[in-house]
Symmetry: C2
Subunit: 332 residues, 2 copies
């Protein structure tokens, strides 16, 4: 932010600017979405209210995998491929970062430099607030803004083999799981949860010496997938070999995503999944606001410190303490 | 559960039985904690209300690491070591399992068989409900029950290199991060978040051919730790080499945990961290109940379906829809 006062655009200016694809207005709107200030949230939601009916369609792709699987290199290769065929691509990195230092590791090094230099691409790290559920509605809102700005493919990066994938599953159309060659023999250790939400698996870094091992892993994962329940009826999950380094297999991944989109549009599942995700967003926003209202209610505010002290000193159990907090809320 | 009607113990019987260390009553109380039925929750909280002041102390250890790092074999080796010196050990496995099939992978194979056979040990898988925040208060409550039952060391297993560690950090005293030999060169990909919440790192599977690589990784992690901010002032995080398979290094890990406990007790940080965790639990329970109350309020119940339909059909944005839900809640 520069030192001098910036003109604050009106809602109209935001909406029109975003729809024209003006990147700085899109960026500023995302900053409003990420803000924890109530007046920013109100403004963000007024902008979103008018962006959501833009009628623009997109394909939202979640890319997930363990640390070291080469997610950002892969996403850059995919993004460059899409940009080269004239597609507008937005990349959102869900960054669990550090909940202690509040720092974003994405800030530590510049990533996806080549992709960032392309006019067709928009890259945005979305730092999490350390609050588990918090990532969800905000990232979803950012996706909606990017869609209104005309980005045709929105790639959401997510880290870890844990629970963040369940969150990302509630906002993307297609989930690609990146694995390393040789990781097939760890299949026992891999959570079924993550395998089950994948719409395709890419064995990444399938280059050089690892080519042979990658082939073996491909077979292992194919067998494993056959044992899992279907995610989308009629969609057969493929295991692909990719090398982001050598840009190999990237086109095939994209073809697979396009085939998925066609199949899902045809069966009506595409729209059904999007509707389910909107329902999820509705409740996530309502619950966020409810919680804030709860803690800002004067009797709750007044009681919180006293109840906390009684709980911390062992005079009151947290279970009874919680009931008293709710009692205070009912008083208002 | 058997076919015939079981006698439902009274709260008194539950509390006294748990305090005497009766495993079947402890198990049944944990089942109440995990239940989603309001009457079970009420009963669980009444039991907990009277268990929390048991005056028994414990060391709560979180063990985390990526899939394949050998967490359950390690935990079994540590548990057997502790049992052999006469300590009572409870093991709780946080299992993100499958959010789609609702199945628990722990059920797929029998784990920790040797430890399970020891009278000093109590092993309990804690299936998550698929709801991100949900694991938190319930697992914490289970820890409190195990503590009241006289378990001196409570080991909480957590999977993934994602966000579940942030949750576990809010309920244990000490966090051990398990890594594989050779994973040091993936340090760039490892989230700082997980490194920062670790109180020690164990390079596991440091046996056979991997011994040499493990030594190198040890150095890598030691350097990485030096660059991180302190978690607890005055506690120097160590990197240890372990082989759960050969039961090597397990005693050293336990010594490190005991040294940590002494240092933290001395500085007063032990009690401070426990108090902070109780505060966290208080709010987690209150927020859980608040949410349930919200959706059960008649005007919200009545409005939900209508608002959902308007949102899903595109007539209403989820942002305005959420405001209307809160409006309905205020009407009650």
């Amino acid at each position: 932010m520069s030192g001098r006062q910036r003109h604050e655009p009106t809602i109209e200016e935001f909406v029109e600017g975003i729809k024209r694809g003006e990147r700085h207005l899109l960026s500023r709107a995302i900053t409003l979405v990420e803000s924890s200030r109530p007046e920013h949230e109100r403004l963000a939601h007024q902008i979103l209210d008018r962006c959501i009916g833009s009628g623009r369609s997109s394909i939202r792709v979640g890319v997930t995998g363990a640390p070291g699987a080469g997610k950002s290199t892969f996403i850059e290769a995919l993004g460059l491929h899409l940009a080269s065929v004239g597609k507008k691509v937005a990349v959102l990195a869900i960054d669990p970062s550090s909940s202690r230092s509040k720092g974003s590791i994405l800030g530590d090094k510049s990533r996806m430099e080549k992709l960032a230099a392309r006019p067709e691409a928009f890259i945005r790290p979305t730092p999490s607030s350390g609050y588990l559920g918090g990532t969800s509605p905000r990232t979803h809102e950012t996706i909606l803004l990017c869609e209104a700005a005309g980005y045709e493919i929105i790639i959401v990066e997510t880290v870890g083999v844990g629970q963040s994938e369940i969150v990302v599953n509630s906002m993307v159309d297609f989930i690609l799981l990146l694995m390393l060659p040789g990781s097939g023999d760890e299949l026992q250790g891999i959570k079924r949860g993550i395998m089950e939400i994948a719409d395709a698996i890419a064995i990444n870094k399938a280059d050089g010496d690892r080519q042979k091992i990658a082939e073996v892993s491909k077979g292992d994962f194919e067998s494993a997938l056959r044992l899992l329940p279907e995610k989308h009826p009629g969609w057969e999950r493929k295991v692909l070999l990719t090398s982001a380094l050598e840009s190999a297999g990237i086109h095939e991944v994209w073809q697979n995503i396009e085939a998925f989109a066609s199949a899902m549009h045809e069966s009506g599942e595409w729209a059904a999944q999007r509707r389910e995700q909107l329902r999820h967003l509705l409740h996530a926003i309502a619950e966020d606001r409810l919680k804030r209202e709860f803690y800002n209610t004067p009797p709750v505010k007044a009681a919180t410190q006293r109840i906390e002290q009684q709980v911390l000193s062992g005079k009151l159990s947290p279970f009874t303490g919680a009931l008293e907090l709710l009692e205070a809320f009912r008083e208002k």
